[in-house]
């Protein structure tokens, strides 16, 4: 393996670690009201970097294009910022790519729409316990007014029982790992640093396009682009749909099986390609491909969530080439659920019996990449929302995908490949609603220092 000297001390901590030990999180977005005051405040902050392992708390910070502009940084092609970042998440074209139409339209977002001038900076606060966070946050917020900031919006973040997602499935299983940072992981998931960190070679063996500012040529170095999308999850609707799929009486086992087909894994995380039942023994739930035994999708359907968001070795051609191409479209996920669990222990059989509680819950989807268009937007449009993915006709990602028809969000279809003929589940409702989001740039530590100097 080639040795990449990754400058951990210059990289913000959240990029290199999910902070699994810091269980409580708060994402606070603020407006810069006084650039000078904000700069000196920023210079005085202790920002967690990748060379340390914070045990009690960690603060990381990212900026929208509007935020950098508030600090007199020009965000354009001449300065080497990505077009997607400069324009922001909410444009007419991007709405189509990302499925932000109908009920997902930015006019319904609570934050981040193009008309929202408030979202400048995101303070990502992580603490060991909720109590610690409850002590820390008021202290933080107390500094805002005197330091040229105003709170715009905040979201909580936490882990659910057993690292399950709100629908009850094990979450965040397959994650790309940055080459050069030694950790055990299947080879397929090892991705060159330049896909997630600016200043290192990317999947095309080239340097990612990097922001350069007057006075700091290497402003982009050790930084990354961050995508934040607040996705509400409709848990009761999800399980009602599964129960109703084969008729009114709703067999629990069949409902869980269908949901697992949609996810591509059993609730405990075992991939369908390796495990015919949730009890089957699996050596490594991350280490598998579809090409060898499951190309037709008879085990893990072609349109399932995990296959669409990471097709592994199936992107037409030889498996090895496929993985290489596939890995030019990976994202580093760092999101956390928000809102109370539907069922305390995320037991699906209990969920199936529980009436709707009317509470909002979902996922703060957060991911990092160095080329938003080739990575995050590609995954969302070419894979998740693509009705024609891998030869399909009319399906989208059954969990997160958006089917468009005449500018509106339409019910979706899910195809379960089988022999001799497939089964189709039609008229599926949306299980996820987009509530707000933005594209951010997370600078490296030295670049933060540059912004702090003014």
């Amino acid at each position: 393996m080639k040795n990449y000297p990754i400058e951990k001390e210059d990289i913000q901590g959240i990029l290199l670690s999910g902070y699994g030990k810091l269980k409580a999180a708060k994402y606070v977005s603020v407006t810069i009201t006084d650039a000078k005051a904000f700069r000196s405040w920023l210079a005085a902050q202790t920002i967690a970097h990748g060379g340390e392992k914070p045990a009690k708390q960690a603060l990381n910070i990212a900026f929208t294009a509007k935020g950098l502009q508030a600090l007199q940084v020009e965000v354009n092609e001449a300065n080497g910022f990505l077009r997607s970042f400069a324009e922001g998440m909410d444009t007419d074209h991007r709405n189509r790519l990302l499925g932000d139409i109908g009920e997902n339209a930015s006019t319904n977002w609570t934050w981040g729409a193009r008309t929202d001038e408030r979202i400048h900076v995101l303070l990502m606060m992580f603490a060991k316990t909720q109590d610690d966070l409850n002590v820390w946050y008021p202290k933080m917020a107390g500094q805002f007014e005197a330091n040229g900031m105003k709170e715009a919006y905040q979201l909580p973040g936490h882990f659910l029982h057993g690292f399950r997602g709100h629908f009850g499935f094990l979450d965040g299983v397959s994650q790309p790992l940055i080459k050069g940072l030694s950790k055990k992981t299947p080879k397929n998931d090892v991705v060159v640093p330049g896909e997630f960190l600016i200043g290192y070679k990317n999947g095309y063996n080239q340097m990612p396009i990097s922001p350069q500012l007057e006075g700091m040529e290497s402003f982009g170095r050790n930084g990354s682009y961050m995508v934040f999308r607040q996705l509400e999850q409709h848990v009761r609707r999800f399980w009602d749909t599964m129960l109703a799929a084969y008729g009114v009486d709703g067999n629990a086992d069949e409902a869980i099986k269908l949901a697992s087909k949609m996810v591509g894994r059993w609730p405990n995380g075992k991939p369908l390609t390796l495990a015919d039942t949730p009890e089957d023994r699996v050596k490594n739930i991350k280490d598998f491909g579809f090409a060898k035994d499951d190309l037709q999708g008879h085990k893990c359907p072609i349109g399932s969530h995990i296959r669409r968001t990471n097709p592994r070795d199936t992107k037409n051609g030889k498996p090895k080439t496929s993985i290489k191409i596939n890995n030019r479209h990976r994202i580093l996920r760092r999101g956390r659920p928000y809102g109370p669990p539907f069922q305390e222990h995320q037991e699906i059989k209990e969920m199936l019996k529980k009436p709707d509680d009317g509470q909002e819950r979902g996922l703060n989807f957060i991911c990092f990449n160095t080329n938003i268009e080739r990575q995050f937007e590609f995954v969302q449009h070419t894979w998740s929302n693509n009705p024609k993915f891998e030869g399909l006709y009319d399906d989208v990602d059954p969990l997160t995908g958006v089917k468009e028809s005449k500018g509106e969000r339409a019910p979706t279809t899910f195809t379960v490949q089988a022999s001799p003929v497939c089964q189709q589940h039609r008229n599926l409702p949306a299980f996820v609603t987009m509530k707000g989001g933005a594209y951010f740039f997370m600078p490296g530590m030295k670049a933060l220092g540059y912004l702090g100097e003014g």
Binding site: R83, H93, R328, T382, C422
Partner: protein, 414 residues
């Protein structure tokens, strides 16, 4: 037979605004507008109108005049296609053509119109067809049949193991009842005759014989061109304008216009490469993939202005980002071979190497020379190329009445 029609006619510079206005009108009601109601023209797969803007020399004089480009991917022979266009449009099309310098004035008939269109479309198109030789009618009918069959498959109990023969008979039955069971003739893909194989061998020997001097001249050109290359130049507002048009339906279009590097050597090389690609498209890439890319319905290269500029039209599935990604990941050699002969292309090595693999520079270059397509029509906006080819495989497969494993494979295509 699927063919490519390219009309490229010079327009009066002061008529540009009027043409743009008409194009907006047409695009707003693309299928049923009053000027050219595309859905009534049965021979068209894809069609587009593009204004090729005027290009000026540094001193302000005209380098290339403004043109109107009208292109279609059509079935059958050209006369029949143009006659159908005239018959459907009943002269309403003159509103557009009147902006062209060469369009006859006064009272005119369809004979004059057809003569005008033919006169201004005498270009060789280096052409690729993803839905090789199927007509619009066949493509739409095969999708209809799949949907009828799916209606039957939907009624099958998901908890029962079904006998493939019973399922096949059920499908054949519903198709027959619906009157959608007449088989189409099997698509015939050309193969090489012995004489043609000898010609290929001869050509290869000829190329090999010339290889050393060719490579030397090429290297000289490549080193010289690399020195002229400037930094990556993005223009976000131009790119945004193009992107605003995209991702409305399953397919997208690309119109790309770039100057060929000056001198006979590059033009000669370009013609050789394009000739090679068109030949391969006919004899080898005739099963739905160009290189290894399965999303291109039609693509064509046309040399205009006496070989000074290269025009490229493409109709493809999915986003620009995924198309360009496929270019780089799966067909970098071919497209570098073509566009390395045009200005501003990323540095290449031995014609085929490097070039497009310089991802960001290549994408910036592609956007810089892409021009907006004012009018674009697709006859089957809900079908991907993979769908079309799968539907044909089903239709042809059913007609062959397969058994055993072949039958199961066929049914799994649904």
């Amino acid at each position: 037979m699927q063919k490519a029609f390219n009309l490229i006619a010079e327009i009066y510079p002061d008529k540009k605004a009027m043409v743009e206005y008409l194009f907006k009108d047409i695009q707003a009601r693309i299928t049923d507008n009053d000027i050219i109601p595309f859905s009534q023209i049965t021979t068209i797969h894809f069609a587009r109108f593009v204004l090729l803007p005027e290009v000026k020399h540094e001193d302000g004089s005209t380098k290339f005049p403004p043109y109107l480009a009208f292109s279609t991917n059509y079935d059958g022979d050209l006369d029949n296609h143009l006659e159908e266009i005239c018959k459907v449009t009943q002269g309403t099309f003159d509103q557009v053509f009147i902006c062209c310098k060469d369009f006859p004035k006064g009272e005119i008939t369809d004979i004059d119109r057809i003569a005008f269109m033919k006169r201004n479309s005498d270009y060789r198109a280096y052409f690729y067809q993803g839905s090789y030789e199927r007509s619009v009618g066949q493509i739409l009918e095969e999708e209809k049949r799949r949907q009828i069959a799916m209606g039957y498959i939907d009624t099958l109990d998901p908890f029962v193991n079904h006998d493939p023969h019973t399922v096949r008979d059920g499908i054949l039955n519903v198709l027959k009842e619906a009157g959608h069971d007449k088989p189409y003739p099997k698509v015939i893909r050309p193969t090489l005759s012995l004489w043609q194989i000898l010609q290929v061998i001869g050509t290869v020997i000829l190329i090999l014989a010339c290889l050393i001097p060719f490579v030397l001249v090429l290297l000289y050109h490549e080193i010289r061109d690399a020195k002229k290359l400037q930094g990556i130049q993005w223009d976000y507002s131009h790119t945004q304008k193009l992107a605003q048009q995209e991702d409305q339906i399953v397919q997208n279009q690309l119109t790309h216009l770039v100057e060929v590097k000056p001198g006979w050597f590059r033009l000669f090389t370009l013609k050789m490469v394009l000739g090679g690609i068109a030949w391969l498209a006919k004899y080898y890439f005739n099963k739905g993939k160009l290189g290894n890319i399965p999303t291109i319905h039609f693509a064509r290269w046309v040399l205009i202005d006496g070989g000074k500029r290269l025009l490229f039209f493409s109709n493809f599935d999915g986003s620009w980002e995924s198309y360009l990604g496929d270019f780089i990941d799966k067909a970098a050699v071919g497209l570098t071979g073509v566009w390395s002969n045009t200005i501003g292309f990323p540095k290449t090595l031995l014609l085929l190497f490097q070039g497009a693999r310089d991802e960001v520079r290549f994408k910036a270059w592609a956007r810089a020379h892409q021009i907006p397509t004012q009018v674009w029509y697709s006859a089957y906006k809900d079908l991907s190329l993979t769908n079309i080819n799968n539907n044909t495989a089903i239709q042809e497969g059913l007609a062959e009445r397969p058994h055993g494993e072949a039958l199961v494979e066929l049914l799994e295509r649904y």
